[in-house]
């Protein structure tokens, strides 16, 4: 209604991000093209060239071989294809994985994490050592709710030492920190375009050369028989352009890190009882999970939204269900802490003025819900 005068600050970049200008241009060009990339005529061949160019760009994002890039409809499908297609009957996943990993194999064994959100190596290795069945291990590179980065190369090395396949969900990390398939040592890597400035509805699974997967979607034999369906040409083109832009502009995140750190310092200066989840571990440069004890996350996000500041109470996917976060529970947070945590996530366009706007709104909210003195009493 009054959006013309209302200031709006979007700090929910881990949910989705605006399409990068380079990607928007590529999408617009591809949308105007007609033709099915599998057709042999000229329009079909043009479509095919766009797709193969984008495949190289996405491969370059993670240092992979273009032949190993399989385009899918998004991160959720990529995770399903990795976990269900590997053929490994036994699956080990970390307890803080995205719901699309946890739901793909509901009876997968869980690897616990410590209070900082890092996988428990002793338990993980014991699980592999005591059960010789062929196993797939799935551990994410960086967590979508807390930003905590796993020591992923070590996880992969342990998995491989016991002959397991290793899948890494890099949906939230790619484009924010270097994510190199070789450095990680992953056999399978999931990517999503709309988390790094590409369009929604497109993602990729990176498959190590020589690894065969059973497809989920069967039909016309596209994507080397690994994923059927007419190629989403504008989506693929946009993903490619966004991947290139993300690599080129990775340096932006140095500035984002400073903004995030300033934001956290200011929050803690205002509210000494506030807690930053995972602050002891390496984290994504843009993510901050902030606990305000005794104040429900819902109250916080609604108050902030009324002041034009958009954040979230956790992952964006659970469609209405505001339950306590499984990620925070797995990190040992009691329900009252998990229920009082908001996720603030920044992006490459986030400005100092927006951080100031957040702090102004957050402080106002804090003063309302915690009248002077009550915080001191609580402490």
């Amino acid at each position: 209604m009054n959006s013309m005068i209302r200031r709006e600050t979007y700090l929910d970049w881990n949910a989705t991000v605006p399409v990068r200008p380079e990607a928007a241009a590529a999408i617009a060009a591809a949308l105007r093209d007609c033709g099915n990339a599998s057709s042999v005529h000229r329009w079909g061949r043009t479509a095919r060239q766009r797709i193969e160019g984008a495949r190289e760009a996405v491969a370059a994002l993670v240092g992979a071989d273009p032949d190993g890039v399989v385009f899918v409809s998004g991160g959720t499908e990529a995770n399903h294809l990795a976990l269900l297609g590997s053929g490994r009957k036994r699956v080990l996943v970390s307890a803080v994985e995205h719901s699309s990993v946890l739901q793909a194999v509901p009876d997968a064994e869980r690897i616990t994490v410590d209070r900082g959100g890092i996988v428990d190596f002793a338990q993980f290795e014991a699980k592999l050592a005591t059960d010789p069945r062929p196993t797939l291990v799935s551990v994410m590179l960086a967590n979508n709710e807390t930003g905590v980065i796993q020591p992923i190369a070590e996880v992969a090395a342990i998995a491989h030492r016991y002959g397991a396949l290793f899948h890494c969900d890099a949906v939230q990390a790619a484009g924010k920190i270097p994510a190199d398939v070789g450095a990680i040592g992953a056999d399978l890597v999931s990517l999503s375009a709309h988390k790094l400035g590409g369009p929604p509805g497109i993602g990729a699974l990176i498959i190590r050369s020589g690894l065969d997967l059973t497809p989920i979607l069967r039909g016309g034999g596209q994507e080397g028989g690994r994923r059927a369906g007419s190629e989403n040409l504008p989506g693929v083109a946009g993903f490619g352009a966004a991947a290139t832009a993300a690599v080129t502009n990775l340096v932006d995140y140095e500035r984002v890190t400073r903004l995030r750190d300033d934001l956290e310092a200011a929050v803690l200066a205002t509210a000494p009882e506030a807690v930053i989840i995972g602050s002891g571990a390496p984290r994504l440069p843009n993510t901050s999970a902030i606990v305000l004890p005794g104040v429900s996350a819902e109250t916080q996000v609604i108050a902030l939204d009324l002041d034009g500041v958009m954040v979230s109470a956790g992952a964006a996917c659970s469609s209405g269900k505001v339950g306590p976060s499984h990620v925070l529970q797995a990190m040992g947070a009691p329900p009252e802490i998990a229920g009082s945590t908001i996720r603030v996530s920044l992006g490459w366009n986030t400005t100092e003025a927006e951080i100031a706007h957040f702090l102004q709104a957050w402080t106002a909210m804090y003063r309302r819900v915690k009248p002077r003195g009550s915080a001191a009493r609580a402490a």
Partner: protein
């Protein structure tokens, strides 16, 4: 050659005339216009409950869902967005089969499926994947005109039949199936009726109630909408239960997890709306052009053989064989017309169409068949030019063949 066809021909550096609308349709500019804001300024995650960007995106998606539902006489709550018709078909067949296996009704096992040999690859491949899991599938032959035999279908049904899957209109030969009759038969036997309507939706009237359809697959890029989006209609009353293929955040009522791509959903919705509003007028115009093209080609090539039925046919489809030539040679000899050998997904591999083989055509005739797909943006001048260009190319090929044979 008519004056306008000559004008078309003059644009020698212009892109080829697009007569491959069954493979993919161009995006309607009005659809593009509806989509663009949702890539950039309206970019919110529709599942973000905590702020207005998310709410706006979800509101746009629900409007689109309503339009998709309206096109086929469904309730919006019966529409599940997917990544395309391939996913919809996989979800319909595998989802219904997996659910039925996990939840037998009154101890009664329904583990059999019936489909046609001429279905799209993604239906056939889903069916064979289910066979490997222990389900039984009956693959019925089609009649020579491409239609199903209702008697054969009725005879194939048993009390263990779970689902019948028959394409509403065929992607290669355009044949339209008697959906209401199939639906009535299935309903009377307690069998689920799935139809792959990727080609039919928006081109011919479809009504899930009148036709008693339980599951229907729809594609965006076959109805002048975007690629990468489709829908599955899933009947609520009586309720059709499916086990999801892709699970996770629980979007789409748990039937299809994953962040919904707002611009693509909006595009599918707008495409469905335009199709509903313009279908009657458009199918008449396109049908007239197709009939002109066919008459024109027959005049120049009297030995041309039509594949499929002319009466029960999509207005924009033509599929015929030209004796004595191979379609690859024709495509090469006629680069100014974008046409195809059959379905796009198999057209990279040059094998005779399994669909035409299943209709009883010889390898030679199947290899000599060409599919022309007319659409919303096809003009009379283009059709004239295409007839001229194809006939000229055929004549050149035949002369070369004769010279070669004589030499």
């Amino acid at each position: 050659m008519s004056a306008t066809a000559a004008a078309v021909a003059q644009r020698s550096n212009a892109p080829p005339i697009y007569l491959d609308n069954q493979s993919s349709t161009p995006l309607d500019p009005r659809v593009l216009e509806a989509m663009l804001p949702y890539f950039t300024e309206q970019f919110g995650n529709p599942h973000s409950e905590s702020h207005v960007y998310g709410h706006n995106a979800m509101a746009a998606i629900e409007t689109a869902r309503g339009e998709v539902a309206r096109l086929i006489g469904a309730d919006p709550r019966e529409i599940v967005f997917t990544s395309g018709a391939t996913e919809s078909n996989n979800l319909a067949l595998k989802g219904a089969a997996h659910f039925a296996r996990a939840h037998p009704i009154g101890g009664k096992v329904r583990d059999r499926l019936i489909t046609l040999l001429t279905e799209h690859k993604c239906v056939l491949e889903s069916a064979t994947a289910l066979e490997r899991e222990g389900f039984a599938v009956t693959y019925l032959p089609a009649e020579p005109n491409g239609q199903i035999s209702l008697d054969r279908l009725a005879a194939a049904m048993t009390d263990r039949t779970l689902l019948v899957s028959v394409m509403a209109a065929h992607n290669e030969i355009g044949v339209i199936q008697p959906l209401a009759e199939i639906g009535a038969l299935c309903r009377s036997r307690g069998v689920l009726f799935h139809t792959d309507a990727a080609q039919a939706a928006g081109k011919i009237p479809l009504d899930v109630e009148a036709m008693r359809i339980d599951l229907m697959s729809i594609s965006g890029h076959k109805i002048y909408g975007p690629k990468g989006i489709g829908a599955l209609y899933v009947r609520r009353r009586p309720r059709v239960r499916l086990q999801p293929l892709i699970d996770g955040g629980g979007q789409e009522r748990g039937l299809r997890s994953g962040t919904l791509p707002t611009p693509l959903c909006v595009g599918l919705g707008r495409a469905a709306e335009l199709a509903r509003l313009e279908m009657a007028q458009e199918s008449e115009r396109v049908g007239r052009l197709r009939d002109c093209l066919y008459a024109n080609l027959r005049r120049r090539m009297p030995d041309l053989q039509l594949n499929g039925d002319l009466e029960h046919r999509l207005p924009g489809n033509l599929n015929f064989s030209v004796p004595g030539i191979t379609v690859e040679a024709l495509i090469e000899a006629c680069p100014r017309v974008a046409m195809s050998t059959g379905s796009a997904c198999t057209s990279a591999s040059v094998e005779p169409s399994y669909v035409l083989r299943a209709l009883g055509l010889s390898d030679d005739r199947a290899n000599a068949s060409i599919r022309l797909g007319l659409g919303r943006f096809t003009t009379a001048a283009e059709v004239d030019f295409a007839a001229e260009a194809i006939a000229a190319a055929v004549s050149r090929l035949r002369q070369a063949g004769a010279t070669f044979a004589a030499g």
